[in-house]
């Protein structure tokens, strides 16, 4: 009965994250990437999304986690933003889950630093937490001026 929201979920270092499905354009396997020199290292490069040039942002680096092993190819979660599509690089894709809004809680106090800033909050699911990413904040890369949105 309660209001629900569908999340596209994924994993980063075994932690469980999600983005509202409305913001997700598509999910892709690892794509050939062109690196962009002189930019903050969270920007891993550019991918060719059917003729559209899309910036790929590594969420591991964004959350200041260590890089994934070379053997582990990242997956692309392409999200729609005011600036066009941006691809979020994650470890693994999870299911689309439907959660009740009342399970929401602000970021737990145990979370520290960068990650706390970039999360909307957490949904308490049975046995685990789903951390909702604040997409506009996550893609606002330091050193680059995000638009006033």
């Amino acid at each position: 009965m309660a209001d629900t929201q569908q999340f596209c979920t994924f994993y980063l270092k075994e932690q469980f994250f999600g983005v509202p499905v409305q913001q997700v354009q598509e999910v892709l396997r690892c794509q050939p990437m062109t690196r962009v020199p002189l930019v903050p290292r969270v920007i891993r490069g550019l991918i060719n999304l059917r003729g559209q040039i899309v910036m790929a942002l590594d969420l591991r680096r964004r959350f200041q986690m260590e890089d994934r092993a070379h053997t582990q190819a990242p997956m692309n979660v392409v999200v729609r933003t005011g600036e066009g599509a941006v691809s979020l690089l994650v470890d693994e894709i999870g299911d689309v889950v439907e959660v009740e809004l009342e399970r929401f809680e602000p970021p737990p106090a145990t979370l520290k630093g960068e990650m706390r800033e970039l999360l909307h909050g957490a949904y308490k699911l049975p046995g685990r937490l789903l951390l909702e990413i604040d997409v506009p904040r996550a893609i606002a890369v330091e050193g680059a001026q995000p638009d006033n949105r």
């Binding site: 962009v36 903050p40 550019l46 606002a140 050193g143 001026q145």
Partner: protein, 719 residues
Amino acid sequence: MDDSEVIREFLIESTENLGRLDQEIVQLEQSPKDAQLLASVFRTMHTIKGTGGMLGFGAVEKLAHLAENLLSQVRNGERDLTAPLVSLVLRAVDAVKAELLAIEAGGKESGVSHAALEDELRRACENKPAASAQGEAAGSEAPPAAGEDGGGAQKNLSEDSTIRVDVGLLDRLMNLVGELVLARNQILQFDAGCEDSSFNASAQRVDLITTELQEGVMKTRMQPIGNIWNKFPRVVRDMAMASGKQVRIEMEGKDTELDRTIIEAIKDPLTHLVRNAVDHGLESPAARKATGKDPEGRLLLRAFHEGGQVNIEITDDGAGLDYERIRAKAIEKNLVSREQAARLSEREIANLIFLPGFSTAERVTNVSGRGVGMDVVKTNIEKIGGAVDVHSKPGQGSTVRMKIPLTLAIIPALIVTSGGDRYAIPQVSLLELVRLEGEQLRGGIELVNGAPVHRLRGQLLPLLYLARELGTDDLPARAAENGLQPGGVNIVVLRADDRQFGLVVDEVNETEEIVVKPLSQPLKNINTFAGATIMGDGRIALILDVVGLAQRADVVGEGQGRALAEERKPAENKQAATRRQVLLCQYGEGGQVAIDLSAVGRLEQFPVHRIEIADDREAVQYRGQIMPLLRVSDLLQGKHRPAPREQALVHVVVYADRGRNVGLVVDRILDIVDEAFRVERQTGRRGVLGSAVIQKRITDIVDIPQLLGAAEPGAQVHA
């Protein structure tokens, strides 16, 4: 442009105008007091009369002339526009239309007489009732004019040949064509390795059709430059009124077409130039009269295609640039040094006005002369891959000429590889490619005060290692620097602003037409990249922004000996008195001199046997000229020593003085130094500014012009 084209234009224009005329005349009947409407009708008739007469279409001219007479009476209030009058004018319009159709079909007038109609018009003018004209009519054989358009059955080109299309749709089409070009490139790449001949043939056709489609779609986005020029008469008029000047504006090549994105981009620079020409270029009527000119100044805007580019010129017949004032101003503002300024050609001086912070306006007016402007114009034009240049003749006026590419969406570019990635370099910035291999590698890249340079035909070319600039991989770069790279070094010689520099890349691939795609927000702020493109294999390549790259790497300060090299850094030049770039040379028995780098044209080496004696002085044949050689040791130490024969080569610093080269012979070229040093003033020797301690050695700082002046009497002593 032949006659038939002129006629064609006349037909299209007149048919359009006449179509409008029908409507306007009818409207006029509803509101006969509408002066504007009447003026428009009158103007149309007048134009048709003029052009028709010029092209020798007598009947058209006559009919239009008579209708015009009638309309002019109405305009002057001599008569009211009555319904019969309107009908009469409309009949004249119909007759003109019929003639136009005949011209379109057969290239000449119908030959049918319009005497009856003409007479009616004439009578109407003389205020006689048209009905009574019947008896006097000369041409009774003429059928009614309105019925004459029987010849118009042919398909005609002037009507209904245009439609209006949403610009957004065209942009989308352009994007799609861009995609198609990329897909085509991919097919061609696949085709290159494919044996199937029928596939080869299809690929070739796809290639051809794509190219044509691309051209076609690009054409649809073209707009005549007249669209932005149209507002200039008003701008000029307002400015002329405000400044008490009289200005006549003329335009040539209004129909010259440019991509709409470019039209947008040049709108502001163009406006600025026009304002500038009126404000600074043209003199007041009194001043013009005093110099025997027409008090009314003339401003000419001209646009034309040339070599795949569009040229736009803004010419005024004003006072022209005051070279001396510009020179003085540039020195005063520390944009060039006094020595540099003395050696600049008129053209180079003229182009000083494009430097940031330059404005000669004696007083700051509200229209221009704020000291920002010409440099912004230049930057904006260069941003779209164009160039701007100014020519001027004192007393006769100036011309600013812009060269603009036709489109920005698809550009030719050179693809290079660096640090394992491909980059596209827009062809407009590319000057040449140099490859150093084997023997050439050794000494091909020299270190001048830590900065790598290459001698390109004797001229020092500062080098940038792309991989190092981008921080992608400095290993191959370091290897190349030490001359260890086995395969050789590829130098892409580029032009940024007025300077040249060499970009060292790992590999030079090919030239390709690329589709420019903008980068999204966080990447847009990096001015090293102008955008990105998708290559034939589907991968993305970044497009280098050559100017941004040069600025980032600050190539300016690194040994580029061009006269204008230092202009861009006025802040640094403020300390020009103490900090400057000099060339260190060894001469005589261990003496060291410093020559201001701005005075150095080139560095050359000549085999000793090439030295000849002309007019009892040493000289070499150099670039088709006789270049006198002067030994620095003779000049400074005042004694003549024979050329050391054990040396096979002489090192020569070439100094260019208004097209005349003079070679200064030194024993060795040591270094280029860019540092602050204190010149200890010294009296005595001519040609020596003083001494300073540079690189732990006492060094004489020479002033070449003075030194050469001193050389003249010196030479006579030897003679």
